[in-house]
Amino acid sequence: MSASATDVEAERPTEQAESTWRTLRRGLALSPELKTGLAGTVVLALVYMVGRVAVPVAVQRGIDNGLTVEGGPDMGVVATVVAITAAVLAITTTCGYLMMRRLFTVSETALAGVRTRAFRHVHDLSMLHQQSERRGSLVSRVTSDVDQITQFLQWGGVILIVNLGQLVITTAVMLAYSWQLTLVVLGAFAPAVLVIRLLQRRLAAAYGLVRQRMGTLLGTIGESVVGAPVIRAYGIAGRTARRLDAAIEGQRQAQQRAIRISILGSSVGELAAGLALAGVVVLGVILGVDGSLSIGQLTAFLFLVTLFIQPVQIATEVLNEAQNAIAGWRRVLDVLDVAPDVADPGEQGRELPPGPLDIRFAGVTFAYPGGPPVLHDVSLEIPAKSRVAVVGETGSGKTTFAKLLTRLMDPTAGEVLLSGVPLREVRFESLRSRVVMVPQDGFLFDATVGENVRFARPELTDEQLTIAFGELGLADWLDGLPAGLDTPVGERGEALSVGERQLVALARAYVADPDLLVLDEATSAVDPATEVRLQRTLDAVTRGRTTLAIAHRLSTAQAADEVIVVDRGRIVQRGPHDELVKDPDSVYGLLYASWLEQTR
């Protein structure tokens, strides 16, 4: 919703004027390769446009010097004029080819670079930033927005350049023939240009509405597809159909409105052309009788007027396309301009020391942007090789631990250190290979089970993966799949059950071989027997490494070396399970009582 709202705002023409140039400058600064050979391309374009006025000039020369001379047509003159013009056309056509070839090669190469850079940049943005964007809006930064620019350059851009040139050159040739007639033509088109300018604003707003309605339509269709089970279970197909129809109809109305305005634009151009032709004939005859204009010149003028119509007629459409392309470009640049707030220190960064990692939180406070703190001044130390469980009610801040520890977010105040190295100073390459988190939502890529597990370590063989599943005690489960490691998991892993997806996500993290494993309710949808079994095997295979598990089920806490109890953003208890349960009125005591109530 917010994305389409900004789209509409971007169409506002007043702020458009200044920022169009700014966007172009920013865009060119980002892709300097766009300027490679630009001068040559412009020269080629100008030569190409000369071809357009060659014919009217030839007609004028032919008529005045060849056809209407004393004693009948002079074939020699006509042949010479035609031969020269044909040669000119051969040259201009070739220049046209060369111009387009250069333009497309340079622009597509530059934009592919922009596309890839924007893609990488989106991944470099912090998790919070990524999640604050509407689903799909980041995708359109590297797809439809860039597509809009390339499509414009391929169609509208060429038309715009060629037609602008055509307008200039045509005007120049007209002036050479007769300044009075040129004034008539310009006079006829002046009101049209004013009207078109006016219409163009309304057209931009109309297309903005079309895009907004299209967004609503896509959202509604998406809901009807993703929510199909709910629609069926509640028998609300009728209601859904009505919503769909309303969205479809709303989009159609917006499209029709836009085309009506667009047609008005070309009609105004057409009428202006008629007016110009009529004016040229009247004044032309008067000037001709006066002796200051030949028949050929007047005829050429009538040809030139038609050359003048085309650019004016398509101006509304092309300018609108240009504006869309600029807006798309601006959105891409805006994403690239966002500095990642959780940034990789890169080359200057430090490596994590080898061996098991210990954890230290030093006065850590965290608040989501614009929200109250969810962690208050937390300090704690967790020795290397220990297995720690973090427990607490929903909303207590326990997941925040995991996100700070893996540097998905940076603390608002204080510092997180791994083996004495502040996280902010650790190179991502080192951090990500040593510290791996398994999130609750076991997102899988639309590939096979094997390919998903191999995600972080593409070099692993099928045998190694099978061994890994065996080590996790999941060999039976893997054997039960229709095609074992080669079983496709479907989009987002939806061909597997929610619990099975978590098993694959866990295996994926396990083969990544981290020194610190962070589990964020990673087995919440797995059945108790499997969970306990996994717990045990994980304990065995991660012995000698540090693990931190955010736990919803207290079985995890019971198995941990130490339990950290979080309540309303503060650590209220810590110690082994057996000690913590000794106080039944403590936060942990109550949690445990509730857990027993659920499981006994």
Partner: protein, 625 residues
């Protein structure tokens, strides 16, 4: 072979266009009339310009006087033609646009209607992205050639008219036209033929680039936590590079053909000058006619392009149409029956499975289809609560889907109060049973609309009652606009637990006679869950109606509330009975539900063992420090 295929595409493309014309004949007639009018006026304008030059300008300049009457007439004719052309443009563009948008809307309605009618098993076989683009870009692509179609039809008429008028003027000039116009036409055909596969390739790559971006950003957290940004970028850049090459190849072809298409009519005009000069010398034509013909060549060049546009879009249109037709022709709807189950007093319903088998069809043909359920039989007696227990992947969610008829069994029957669910009307089924799924789905609408779903008889009072029962009244009351708060796309403004309670309230608000909970209370406190289940069991509970309950659960607390437990493993019912019975007699069941206790017990033993050898662990710590 290749040309055979492209001829085939041409034929099929024309058939798709024919379908469009049959569906919108009147508006198409308006558009074509406008276009033909425009075309004829283009020819007329050439002759008027020629006439004005020959009959008004030349004599006036020769005589040296301004003929006011003739001049006014010429000016009026030129301007009049422009006005009429505007009428033609309006008819053509408005007609073509409206026709295109009407077809798009009509087919979007039909496609989405099919989505609603087709069974869930069909939805399972089709990726979400594919279904979205079927209703969006495929429909758009199918009717894309409609926009230039009337223009192209008018142009054909105009070309015929132009050749006829040329013959009426002079046979020699007509021959020039006969050489140039077909050449122009042929050049357009060749252009679009060669462009079509390139465009298709670019289109396909665009979709692939978008697919990678979608998936990669969806899985951004995994990419980030595993530090795979660089590899993902390489994956994306490779496809973006292919797209770049495809677009450059499209551009190069344009670079070859566009200037040629522009130059060809100019060469025609030059030929007219030469041939015209010869004919003028022979006295066969006048200057008027020569100028007219030259002008005709200039103005005809642009409209001929419209034919090329239509031809160029045909392959894309056919591809889009094929994908749309696949949805429209898909069969296997789950027809609803005629029977209803609406007792005067809403009493709990009885659910029974008789020898139910079920399997998902394989996503890809070469893979074996998996049998998910085999010979499943059980009953949920009226007013009773039955718990469905089993390990991950045992088929519990499938049983839940069958119970509310989201899918139909391969064999066997599912009955409600003794009636096969396939014989029930949609309305009766929906009012009898309610499913709360494992993953909550929330519509981009208000809280109220998400609960009522516009079902009759659910007023604000009922909504609040249901919210209270689901323990969702607290957070809803705290929302800025209460029941009128918009929850955002997929309910993003709510937490997972809040979404779950909202969908629970949605189910309760309909006062179902059978409630199916598919692990739907994991985010709800056990005490709340117990209260909900108790409320539904009581014959005169808060909701005023009682219900039978089928609940998929792992929690001992939930299981303890059940009158009977059904234990499933690998799609088969292994055992059924009360919880204590199963605990005593079914080892698999006992392992599952006592897993935590067992683990605790084992740990205590290990701990005892550890305490015997404290030295080792102590040493380890010391060595580390």
């Amino acid at each position: 072979m290749a040309s055979g295929t492209s001829r085939d595409v041409l034929g099929r493309g024309l058939r798709v266009l024919g379908r469009a014309i049959r569906e919108q004949p009147r508006i198409f007639a308006v558009a074509v009339t406008g276009s033909v009018l425009f075309g004829l006026l283009v020819i007329a304008s050439a002759y008027v310009v020629g006439g004005v030059v020959g009959e008004v300008v030349v004599p006036a300049i020769a005589r040296g006087s301004v003929p006011a009457g003739a001049l006014a007439l010429a000016a009026a004719a030129l301007f009049g033609i422009s006005v009429l052309r505007v009428v033609g443009i309006f008819g053509r563009r408005l007609g073509a646009g409206y026709m295109q948008y009407r077809l798009q809307a009509a087919y979007r309605r039909r496609v989405t209607r099919r989505y609603l009618d087709l069974p869930l098993s069909w939805h399972h076989r089709n990726a979400t992205g594919t279904l979205l683009s079927n209703a969006n870009s495929d429909v758009e692509a199918a009717w894309y050639p409609i926009a230039p179609l009337p223009f192209a039809v008018g142009t054909v008429v105009m070309l015929v008219g132009a050749v006829v008028s040329l013959f009426l003027t002079d046979w020699a000039l007509a021959l020039v036209g006969l050489a140039v116009f077909p050449a122009l036409f042929a050049l357009n055909v060749v252009y679009s033929r060669r462009m079509a596969p390139r465009q298709a390739r670019a289109q396909r790559l665009r979709a692939e680039v978008s697919g990678i971006a979608h998936e990669s950003f969806d899985g951004a957290l995994v990419v980030k936590t595993m530090g795979r940004e660089a590899q993902e970028t390489v994956r994306f850049a490779a496809r973006a590079g292919e797209l770049r090459d495809a677009l450059i190849s499209v551009g190069r072809l344009r670079g070859v053909f566009d200037p040629m298409l522009e130059t060809l009519p100019s060469l025609g005009t030059l030929a007219v000058l030469v041939v015209g000069a010869l004919r003028l010398r022979q006295g066969a034509i006048s200057v008027t006619e020569l100028v007219s013909v030259a002008f005709l060549f200039t103005v005809l060049a642009f409209p001929v392009r419209a034919i090329g546009w239509v031809l160029a879009e045909l392959p894309r249109s056919v591809a889009g149409w094929d994908r749309v037709a696949r949805v429209l022709d898909a069969t296997g709807e789950m027809p609803y029956g005629e029977r209803t189950l609406d007792p005067a007093e809403p009493t709990p319903a009885t659910l029974a499975f008789h020898d139910v088998h079920f399997g998902y069809e394989p996503a890809e043909a070469h893979l074996p289809g998996t049998e998910v359920l085999g010979a499943v039989s059980f009953t949920v007696p009226a007013g009773k609560t039955v718990a469905l227990v089993g390990p991950t992947g045992a088929g519990k969610s499938t049983i839940a889907s069958l119970a509310v008829r989201l899918v139909d069994p391969r064999s066997g029957t599912v009955t409600l109060d003794g009636v096969d669910v396939r014989d029930l009307t949609a309305a009766s089924l929906a009012s009898t049973v309610a499913l709360v799924a494992q993953v909550p789905f929330v519509f981009d609408d208000t809280v109220r609309a998400n609960i009522t779903l516009d079902r009759p008889g659910i007023g604000d009072e009922e909504v609040w009652a249901a919210l209270r029962l689901a323990e969702a009244d607290g957070f809803v009351a705290a929302l800025p606009d209460g029941l009128d708060t918009m929850v955002g796309e997929r309910g993003t403004s709510l937490s997972g637990g809040q979404r779950q309670r909202l969908t629970l309230a949605r189910a309760l608000a309909g006062r179902p006679r059978l409630l199916v909970l598919d692990d739907a209370t994991s985010a709800v406190d056990p005490r709340v869950e117990a209260a909900i289940l108790a409320g539904l069991r009581a014959p005169t509970g808060d909701t005023g109606a009682a219900a039978s309950i089928l609940v998929v659960a792992y929690r001992r607390a939930t299981i303890a509330l059940a009158d009977e437990v059904i234990y499933v493993e690998q799609g088969r019912v292994i055992a059924r009975g009360t919880h204590p019975d199963l605990l005593a007699t079914v080892p698999g069941y006992a392992d599952l539900v006592t897993a935590y206790e067992q683990a605790e017990h084992d740990r205590e033993q290990t701990r005892t063992y550890d305490e015997v050898t404290p030295l080792t662990s102590g040493l380890e710590v010391e060595v580390d420090r």
